[in-house]
Amino acid sequence: MKSGLQKGALYIAIIGMEACWLYALMALLNEETAGARLSVPGVLVIYPLAFIFNLMLQRLQWPKACIWAVSWLAWAVGMLLIVKVQLFAGLPLLDSSWLLSVPRSVVAVIYAFKPELLVLLGTGVMWWLGRRLTYLKVDFGALISEFQFGLLILLIAFFAASQLGAELGSSVPIVLAFFALALSGTSVAHALEGKSWLSGLYQGHWSGLLLVSISLVLLVGLLISAVVTPGLLQLAVAALKWLLGLILKLMALIASLFPEPEPVELPPAMPMPEMEPSEGFKLWTLPEPVRNGLRIGLYVLWIGLIVIALWRVSSDVFGWLRRKLAGMAGAEFESLPGAFRADLLGWFKRIYHKLLGLRLPIRSGARGRSVLPEIASVRQIYRQLLRWSSAAGWPRHVSQTPYEYLHALGQLVPEVQADLDLITNQYVRARYGALLLTEDELHQLSQSWRNVRQNKLKKGSRYKWTKQSGK
């Protein structure tokens, strides 16, 4: 299978897995908060749209802020369209009440969770996920992280649905699709790393293994759905109740063996003096907006604590599974220690970064260290150079140093060799030597970058590059 096709298949696997848990979560929230007024597939359609739209947007050579703004503007339009079509289909388009319903739902969040708010949040998350996929490095590690995270969300969704008595309906197909996509994705990810049948010698072996795995999962899923009936569950609950009753009887028997304590006569309670609330007490009553703010803070705190608890539990469960798998003879064990934690921290870090425009100093080495503006601009120019060369079909290999990359790039575009030399030299000085550039040097650097950008791509250079890099 060609590399491009494999990448495409991997994207489909990840998109499919995310769509599975998004569907389950949205169906649950739709049932509980919107009274099943929304069509979940209709909302979910924004997710692939976000991916395609942002992918096209990334190909444009626009400034980053501009791309960001256009992307989120498109989300706002899409979200409003969904609100209009799904919740206010009867209202005319020019009626402003459906437009105002979204901000009103945000203001009224303290009192009620309206369907408009669900659309706002749901589409926002989906848009962000779709956008994230465009710059996500899709490989085996990413797939496993998606699988772990998706599985956790699915478990939470199903558990919440069973506790709330919500009817998800299509839980079996969701789970089957999720696992089938995860298995297929794993196989393709291996193929992408050159370890699979798709590009290697053991074609029959891997294809057979993949087919058997998928068939097995489907078969086990069907068997479980057929065997685990409500009757069987009731029987299990009855057995548990009987066991609990037995334990209670045993405890009562043990308690009866001890003598009853002598009853102690308590003195009569003192009558409470009637107290009038003082004038000063009223002064300390917090105003309603502050109390609302505190309530939101409390909810955030609770949600945070639950997320941390879930993370800890899932980390322990995965750690236990890893240890068990490592102990099994003949089992292949691929450890990704701290992957989930790293994902979670990375997610929080990105949110923080985007909200405040700052980097969260998570690592001790980065604590209190800031990048000087001159160095930041050099790094920005080099980043743009990498993006430009990558878009032109000459990406840098992860193990290539700036000078190795310069050597390879210089052979393809010798006419700008001097400019590339200057950019790389200044970048290396600033990046690894933390050396400041003078104004003249910065000006020269910008000029060199303009020269490089104006350079037209040559026919056949892409072929030369792929031959050279062995791709």
């Binding site: 710059y135 140093t401 700036p402």
Partner: protein
Amino acid sequence: MDKAVREVSREIKEAADRVTGNVGKVIVGKKETVELVLVALLCEGHVLIEDVPGIGKTMLAKAVARSLGCGFKRIQCTPDLLPSDVTGIHYFNQKTSDFEFRPGPIMANIVLVDEINRATPRTQSCLLECMQEQQVTVDLETVSLPRPFMLIATQNPVELEGTFPLPEAQLDRFLLRVGLGYPSEDEEGEILSRFQEGNPLDSLDSVVEAEELLEIQKLCRQVYVEPSIRSYAVAIGRATRSHKDIELGASPRASLGLHLASQALAAIRGRNYVIPDDVKYLAVPALAHRLIAKTEAHLRGRSAAEIVREIVSTVSVPVEEQT
């Protein structure tokens, strides 16, 4: 850049150029090998020169030693060489009626241990303390070795009869393992021409004194290593421990060695900061000799150096992300 720091890097480069030029009077070509020996010298490490006979291993070691105005001793390893022949002994002085310490050849600044694998494991082991702690313990007395101290060992990888392979603990104490390789046709012609009238080694003068060398060694530690470069060196070291073809990966001492050697290389090349190319360049000489490849890898003809090169080609270099 701070002017004083710039002066420091210039000073180190000038001294390194002087030594390289001086050694170049004897050793034709092989500038990269000479540079690696200087790297080890500047970070107080030891070098194992491994190559076939007649390439100039001993000549290189002697030329480096002569270029430095330091005390030089040579130990020719043979199977009957004893640890006391290396470290020294306590003998009874009849004049003073007391035991006195007579130092062995290890008590020098530059020590050439020729054909190290011809010494028995017992004698090889007496070098462990000298190499790591720069001291020797004879009877109950511990004696510090003179500073600077560097051990240059040579060994022949082809002829194995009557030799004792170096144990891992010993190999791990060598900062770098370097090879010389055969000279090119022109270089070989130049060698014949230079040695026609006499050995140029005899007329070689020292170009760097011991005090200056000590000062340069201290300055080398000031070379800036960006945290991501440090992580890169660690990542390479750690990758050797999980590679499928490696039985025993690189030790933390190896990672430390790679880090220090990168600083020295950067200084020799006139920089006061380390770049990923330094780490990459030094990965094979600093790590390959410390690894034990699995038998399957040996059977497939894969050397440790080849595996290290493969590892280096997969570990991500800290550069800007393209997104």
